[in-house]
Symmetry: D3
Subunit: 262 residues, 6 copies
């Protein structure tokens, strides 16, 4: 198996998650898989994407980083946010790079382990949008519930003991009251917490970073060894090269700020 190139995109313009996430990803993937973690180069320094407005401000950047990945020989790119922002846009523009997203990957994984699962989210605010996402992927009947720990995304790693305690509390309710048979931690910032929760509750607990990275590596393998490529037909068709040139879409470099290889 050749060296696969994975890109993890933290879709914010602050680099502080790049190192810790890169190290975890490194520990997950095969030794000869190349791991590149990037965050955005955007003058607006938002530290979270909890609001649709914030997401909208980086929507184009995410798609442009995907386009760059497609041009740079990246085998699979992961959008590092559980809202899966701009996923369809990234998939359309990429003709070679396979684009993976944590919410879809986690739910696909969970659907192999349980008949019903719940998502433990940071705040109530997220639930409507993530539920819409889950439904758009077809997981409506798998979803037992979404429950909130009432912690902001950028605080989930502040006091991981407290966060874990809250996840266990809401996770137990999801299990006992909503009949969840597995849990998904609904934010990529929950890295490193799943195993502890799983030990306590005794049902599968899915870390979206882990689910997305292994899904991406698997798909990248399929791409490199079995000619699997993303579709470029109908709604998956990328814009014509000539039109993109006419619009000078390549004038500016991809909005990549921090970039670390692992």
């Amino acid at each position: 198996m050749n060296g696969i190139k994975l890109r993890w995109l933290n879709p914010i313009s602050l680099p502080h998650y790049d190192e810790p996430m890169g190290e975890i990803i490194r520990s997950i993937v095969s030794p000869n898989t190349q791991v590149e973690v990037v965050s955005l180069d955007n003058p607006i320094k938002m530290d979270n994407l909890e609001y649709r407005y914030y997401e909208s401000l980086v929507w184009g950047d995410i798609a442009r980083v995907a386009y760059d990945a497609d041009n740079c020989g990246v085998d699979a790119m992961i959008i590092g946010c559980f809202y899966d922002p701009a996923l369809e846009d990234c998939r359309e523009i990429c003709q070679h790079t396979i684009v993976v997203a944590p919410c879809q990957a986690s739910m696909q994984l969970a659907a192999n382990l349980a008949n019903k699962f719940s998502v433990i989210v940071g705040q109530e605010k997220w639930i409507e949008q993530m539920t819409e996402r889950a439904h758009s992927y077809g997981f409506e009947h798998y979803l037992a519930s979404m429950r909130s720990v009432d912690i902001a995304a950028n605080s989930l790693q502040c006091d991981t003991q407290y966060t874990t305690k809250c996840i266990i509390k809401e996770g137990r309710k999801a299990m006992e009251e909503d009949h969840a048979e597995a849990l998904i931690l609904g934010c990529t910032c929950n890295f490193g917490l799943a195993e502890k929760v799983q030990d306590i509750l005794g049902i599968p607990v899915i870390d979206p970073l882990l689910a997305a990275v292994t899904m991406a590596e698997n798909l990248a393998n399929l791409k490199q060894n079995f000619a699997i490529k993303p579709s470029n037909k109908w709604s998956s068709q990328a814009p014509p090269v000539a039109e993109m040139a006419k619009f000078q879409l390549d004038t500016y470099p991809a909005p990549i700020g921090n970039r670390v290889f692992f």
Copy 2:
């Protein structure tokens, strides 16, 4: 009734639709409604949004123009594209301005006139995405079909006789084969064509510009006279003012390029 302020946003950075659309809108609304038509200030001069990638590049701009509308006392803003891009993002950021979009407005209108309707789109490419939109609004069971005239969005106004002929041809198939009881023209660039098609086919034919503008004026009236406002709760909650200040989201002016009042 006081003067209502409407903003129509052409979410591209070319101004050539601003004048003709503004004039039509002027002819639709009440004399004392103020009409402002704006297009984007974006270095990328795309003349269409037929690809998700193109949309992604203006996603943030659309939301920022909505945020500006909310701060400038605009009563209702219309996103001038039948994909309804960034609609949920705009609605979240606006606490005062009511945001209206042509696809949703057209289907709501059609649902008052017929039990089944079809959408006549420009290209096959659009169908999957618009169908998703229609389903997300709940119109799955109203939708008889989507049919394409195979004309690019920015060519729909080039030879309106030809465009009309094609719409009539596909519209007749939608009526006869798919049992559509009404038609929606699935692009705001189809302005001025609906009445002719309706005369020939004998079923309601909805111009999305007309549907969106009158819906917006109606909602703006409700806002001004009956205290109706968009929700700001749960998934509709806008980001906290303090956080937005911390992120300096107001550093740059709204990306409005051309601006014309009618």
Copy 3:
């Protein structure tokens, strides 16, 4: 804008809501809109339609009043009951008059203001039927809940302070427990109560009378100025004139009892 003709039908054979509703409608619409409020001429003097059986007894009368509206140049008729009784029947028989109904109009309005809404109904009894209605319109995924204040329809206006208090109490539960982002008052007899509830709860609260009347006026404008008409094709097709003559359906006058112009 020419004078538009609106007809509001109170589908009961008692006239006591005609005056107060007419006055409110008058205060909502444009000065040169003509407002006609009618109630039924039916020997059975039911004062509510809380049961399907009661509805069935006026089903034909409602459709006949719609047919009369179609023949009398009424631009838009509103069925004044939140169950939207006989709506499809009225739409089929009308080839000119646009028929509007409070439940559909309220939900369309709410879908422009919020991603999730609840309906506050009078009695538990109503919930299954109204939920069916909401689903038939496609609003299944918008519906956070239906909650009852346990007050009969014909008592909602008896002690409006008490009614308002109950609506606030159940509305708060809908907001806090069911995550409603907006409320709809699920009975046309709730007129005049929405604004107070909205002030207290801080989310949009929709008065179905207001929603239906402004929707009707908007559609009537579209009809008069932009040739928009209801469909008369397939399931929307009215019976043939000759057959209706053969059946002597015009033998009896429309069952209009009280009639007031505002």
Copy 4:
């Protein structure tokens, strides 16, 4: 087994189907089942219910005949039209009589015989409304298609050879092109035709009269021998006796015109 009382209601005010249908019903049911066939007493002499408007004019009459059945000790009443008009209204008002309808009964029967079925209707006009009905009963995924023979309801028995030929033609298309595994004849006026079609096509062909009558007899047996009764709770609750008395709903006799016992 005691004598069960069945009432078949032809919901039109012409008696000409009463005799032939009564004879067929007689031949279907157990010898000690009492069969009463009634049609309406309504000054309007419509010979079909192909339009929603026509249905609306007898909606109340149907419910009143059901109420009468409930008061007269009828064990089960069948609404003799495949649109199942006023079914929910009849079920609400009846506390003893079980109300059965041909469309629901036929689809329940078909769901025991095949995984996919099609309905052969008289005219295209019917399809949207019957599809809605099928969906409301939950048969969306069983429905392979609806296909029309282009014959009006009141002509189906005029030239039964021709009608049968058309049903076979469209039924074969439903089988070959839509993959129907069974057929339902979508009008009670198709009585006597199913067996011939079944012989030719080799898949189950369901006569709605037969399906409804045997379902009704079965339910009536359950009622008489095993205390099964229709629900009278929540949405199934009938109006209070006192209120009905106050409204003098019993002033007029049930609108039964022709009445024949078999």
Copy 5:
């Protein structure tokens, strides 16, 4: 009416339910209906099917007993377990025998009596699988809830007073909290309990044995007297006779253990 042959299959290899169920069935059906109750001949002596694994071990046996029924002139066979195990397999292999199952039959019956129903199951464990079943039959919108009495299937008849008390308790919650208008007892082992519960709660309570047996008798009548047969087309097509012979599927006798006629 000729003698109809019904077979009730207890899909376990213990005979202890055969006698009591046979006697009840005898008391339900017409005197000249022949009742055969069989249980399996399987070396594994499981006394319940509460786990999918247990079901899987008798899946083939159930289908083989159905195939035997088809060859032995049985008019209708009932699979005596509320999970309706192997129902689609049995229906496919049977070209003459109509196969009926308690869950589907009970829900069809309930849908004639109420707009919403709940199922009272033995254990939480069952709920996901039975809910899937209900959805596959199309009863998603009828289902108010499933509630568990926390009694294993094979204990339901141990202390019927206790079981009844628990059913009443959970049934009342289903009625009051989930707005069920009727109840279904979700296990064939609940025989003999429904009427008592119905008397106390005042809403219809359906015994699945009763529902299935009367449905089967009704369908068998239709088969014998009106040529109704199960479909043998497309997904309902049975394997070719020649292929079955080639595979020597008839080498072994049907796995019928105990067999009693009533």
Copy 6:
């Protein structure tokens, strides 16, 4: 990465696919993954599972082989049939082994590559059942169509040139007429054909064997390295050990016939 143990089960009692499939699987997985291919030990020598009846006869065997896998330290087992027979049963009984199935794995893979896909099946007969499966997994809205090449499962490998030609023909129709953006070959016996079809049609073509095996290897890695296990809660709960012992479910060895390691 330690050596992972995968088991591929050919759920028929003929061994002829074991060698060729094993070799392909060997070429797909990592060198230190252990591959075991087994087929059944069943006196009935069916060479296909195209009928539900045939499936039913091996249903229990499949579950027993899964139970054996769970006891033998197999990390992931794949059910080698695109109907995914007994999948839920296998998942329930396994507390350690992760069970993967080709239809679910292929659709999950396709959902990462395209917004719409079609399945090319062997025979029309399969479509209803596979469509049900797709819907149960939530892929209803991804499914563009199912199209048949009219070749029996056990003939797909007889003349692979002919099979490929047929797949290309139907695949092109799926792409052009049904707007499929990717294809899935709907039978594990199609191994080795996907790449050729993909080269000709230019859209992703998924070989279910490849999709299932790589999914299984990925999940097995997650199990071995990150403690991911299948759920054993609620509907995923396995039968109690004591009860299984009481029923002597371990009396007979797992019905494994041929067994080859690769």
